[in-house]
């Protein structure tokens, strides 16, 4: 398809900058275009001038349909959490556009935002810090109803909360308890119940299972999948655990230093990623199987992610990339389709299996057993 550097244009008018092959009659729920979020760093002195900027998110675009899950992965510091919050306008974006059900959010005033907010929710990473320890569960879960569903009587609200609690697998009679009386997994379920209270269309899940033990994590993931089927919600699933993301996502976007470097269908991303960073990231994931894991080769990246205050010129990954050449420093690669259903931003993109590392012409690749 479009491999000549032009953004891919899809027939039904929805610009696909993220590997979505738009289906007939599908309504885009969330459309994000060129989203930029910069945080100023202010100097000392009396006049706090902005001396530098943290380029947390530098122009990302993606879209989400109803009932779809987009996984957003990357190392810490890649800007994935900022991206999630900027989409919800919890951080006002520096520039770019976020459309939710066709409504442009970046220009909405706060009362306009309030109406939209009930349809967009977030579940936070840390179930210990994100629940008010002084509020009983009924109030935590029901708070959104108090604000947005003013018609509801007290008893109706209570019934709704009970329903929500049992929906997420908690006992309704525990509604009078306080957050500290619950285990980590149960608290995360409370966070999910709170997000569900207003029957949203879109939930940002910011590392929802990272703080949980694996046996508990599995239950929460299953719950999220079941709820999505029941309520037909779209998820933006932010996580650094690639196995979890693979499990839950329909499509996956890989972020590196504020940019999406690769985005596409889940199977494509995991089976034949074309961006070197995705390949390295996937090859670093330990496989819980001693036979495979002990013989497997992996790409071990040198060093750490660079500072987002002064990101490298050109391709931001070039400082750690084994394929990097002069062009990578001079010219920023565009996010274009190299393989069907997969867009990546690399001058030297080529598909490779991250598990076997069968890279075609992988001269210079640092392979470490």
């Amino acid at each position: 398809m479009s491999t000549n550097g032009e953004p891919l244009v899809v027939a039904d008018g929805a610009r696909s900058r993220d590997g979505v092959t738009a289906r007939e009659g599908d309504e885009m729920l969330v459309e994000v275009e060129d989203l930029v979020k910069e945080f100023p760093i202010r100097g000392g002195g009396i006049v706090k001038r902005t001396v530098a900027k943290v380029h947390a998110v530098s122009g990302i675009s993606f879209s989400l349909r109803r009932g779809e899950t987009l996984g957003l992965v990357g190392e810490s510091g890649s800007g994935k959490t900022t991206a999630g919050r900027a989409v919800l306008q919890l951080h006002r974006p520096t520039s770019g556009s976020v459309r939710f059900k066709g409504v442009e959010l970046t220009t909405l005033d706060s009362s306009g935002m309030r109406d939209v907010r009930k349809d967009m929710q977030i579940v936070f990473q840390d179930p210990y810090a994100s629940l008010n320890p002084k509020m009983p569960v009924n109030d935590i879960v029901g708070e959104g109803l108090v604000v947005h569903e003013k018609k509801l009587s007290k008893s109706e609200r209570k019934d709704r909360v009970r329903e929500l609690l049992s929906d997420v697998g908690l006992r309704p009679e525990h509604g009078n308890r306080y957050p500290h009386e619950f285990s980590g997994g149960q608290r995360q379920r409370l966070g999910i119940a709170r997000a569900l209270a207003l029957d949203p269309d879109f939930i940002v899940l910011d590392e929802p299972v990272s703080a949980l033990d694996v046996s508990v994590q599995a239950g929460v993931i299953n719950l999220l999948e079941r709820l999505q089927d029941q309520h037909h919600m779209a998820y933006l699933f932010i996580a650094h655990d690639l196995s979890v993301v693979r499990h839950i996502s329909d499509r996956v976007a890989v972020m590196y230093l504020g940019k999406i470097v690769e985005i596409g269908e889940r199977e494509k991303i995991y089976a034949e990623p074309t961006h070197p960073y995705t390949q390295a990231l996937l090859s670093a994931v330990p496989i819980p199987d001693p036979h495979q894991e002990k013989v497997r080769q992996r790409i071990v990246l040198e060093g750490d992610i660079p500072s987002p205050v002064s990101p490298p010129s050109g391709c931001r990954f070039r400082t750690r990339c084994w394929k990097a050449q002069e062009i990578c420093a001079d010219e920023e690669p565009e996010l274009i389709e190299h393989e069907p259903g997969l867009l990546s931003a690399c001058h030297f993109a080529e598909a490779a299996n991250p598990l076997t590392l069968s890279v075609k012409g992988s001269d210079g690749t640092k392979l470490v057993v």
Partner: protein
């Protein structure tokens, strides 16, 4: 350059208690019936309830388990790192020398010299007001009568060994100037600086990104060969265990419940808990399938049950399991032990991970055709045992698997934590203490 330092400065060990030539089959560390209890206002928490194991020279022994299972506490007990309120009993002998309740002076001579520890969080385990080089040099000078200069050179050499670029200038940096991965490397450098025989790595990569984790594990692997140390690798990440460990101990509720080679544990788990753990992780090559959580939560260690502590969560449990707690016993494979009364049952099951599928998930997975057939009370699955003859009315799975399928499945059965242990005691206390 680094090479030359090593030769110039032969670091003689000040303390000469060790018979250095010990390539025999004698284990390096023998832990016997180690118990750790913490008195609290609510009673005594039995954090470690009698564990025994051996670590041989140069092997990597993995200890895996969920939070609160006692995996870290057991190794900290050995090094005398627990608060003085902890009640420790049993025995842990390092090359024949008793570690438990040993006088501080003896432990000090050992810690950092022959037994080193790598902690999970390198930010809080390094001193923020001293440079990294100084802290590493201090580790050398604590055990060797050498000059500051020699110690510093040794520190630089170690930083280079663990892959820190420009080790000379980096040695003068403070911990906060390092990134997370570099700090963990510095921790490893500090651990190996005195050529220890045993390194205890407590969740060494848990706080790190996968790419950095790969770097650290690689470093750990190579320095282990460099200094010829054995490693006790404590982690909850089965992927890390799979790649690193020769032998694996699975811990649950303060006990070792399964022990064997990594291959044995991963291929043929003989304790339902291990099988459940394996089934609950999403893996890179199995996507789209439903995960199988282990319903319920571990028992409170304030008052551990008389029977097997896994009973409330176990799909195989029968009434006898409540009678007494199983010890580790030999399975059909050599050197593979499991603490389960019903391990033989697992022999008949092709994929033990499926045991933890509850009825609801069987519906989702298309194994059972209607959810309506599964409606039960509001009871958690686990409390429905014993289920000798009650089976979910579905076609064949339970029979195929040769197990007693947990019965009466409500629609919330895939939801793990809501299910309290079978006892009807109020949950708050329990969850509170565990967290």
């Amino acid at each position: 350059m680094s090479e030359s330092h090593l030769e110039e400065v032969p670091l003689e060990r000040v303390d000469e208690a060790s018979p250095d030539a010990a390539p025999s089959a004698e284990p390096l560390l023998v832990v016997d019936n180690l118990e750790v209890r913490f008195p609290t206002d609510d009673g005594e928490v039995q954090a470690v309830r009698g564990i025994s194991y051996e670590v041989r020279e140069r092997e990597v022994m993995g200890i895996v388990g969920e939070s609160g299972c006692g995996k870290s506490v057991s190794s900290m007990a050995m090094l005398g790192l627990l608060p003085s309120t902890a009640k420790i009993s049993g025995s842990a002998k390092f090359r024949g020398q008793e570690l438990l309740n040993a006088p501080d002076r003896e432990l000090r001579a050992l810690r950092g010299l022959k037994v080193a520890m790598i902690f999970q969080d390198p930010m809080t385990s390094m001193n923020p007001v001293y440079t990294v080089g100084k802290q590493l040099a201090e580790a050398v000078r604590a055990h060797h009568e050498v000059s500051h200069k020699v110690a510093k050179n040794r520190a630089i050499e170690m930083l280079e060994l663990v892959g820190i670029p420009q080790p000379k200038s980096r040695a003068d940096s403070y911990p906060h100037e390092f990134s997370g991965g570099m700090r963990q490397r510095a921790m490893i450098a500090m651990a190996i600086i005195n050529n220890p025989d045993l390194i205890i790595a407590d969740e060494p990569t848990t706080a790190l990104d996968v790419t950095v984790q790969a770097q650290i594990l690689e470093t750990l692997e190579s320095v282990k060969d460099e200094v010829g140390a054995a490693i006790i690798l404590i982690t909850h990440d089965l992927g890390v265990i799979a790649g690193m460990a020769d032998r694996v101990k699975v811990m649950y509720a303060g006990r070792i419940v399964e022990s064997g080679t990594a291959e044995q544990i991963f291929d043929t788990p003989r304790m339902p808990y291990s099988a459940g753990l394996l089934g609950s992780i999403p893996s890179m090559d199995s996507s789209g399938t439903l995960l199988t959580p282990i319903a319920g939560t571990p028992p409170s260690l304030l008052d551990p049950p008389d029977g097997c502590p896994f009973v409330p969560r176990c799909p195989l449990a029968v009434p006898e399991c409540d009678q007494s707690e199983p010890g580790l016993h030999q399975t059909e494979q050599p050197r593979h032990e499991a603490a389960c009364w019903r391990w033989e049952h697992l022999l008949t099951v092709d994929d033990p991970r499926l045991l933890f599928r509850t009825g609801n998930e069987l519906v989702d997975a298309g194994i059972v055709d209607s959810e309506a057939a599964l409606t039960g009370g509001d009871q958690p699955v686990a409390t429905e045992r014993p289920v000798a003859d009650t089976t979910v009315p579905h076609e064949s799975t339970a029979d195929e698997l040769g197990i007693n399928e947990p019965a009466a499945v409500d629609r919330a059965t895939d939801t793990t934590v809501s299910h309290e242990p079978a006892t009807d005691e109020p949950m708050p206390d329990e969850t509170e203490r565990r967290s």
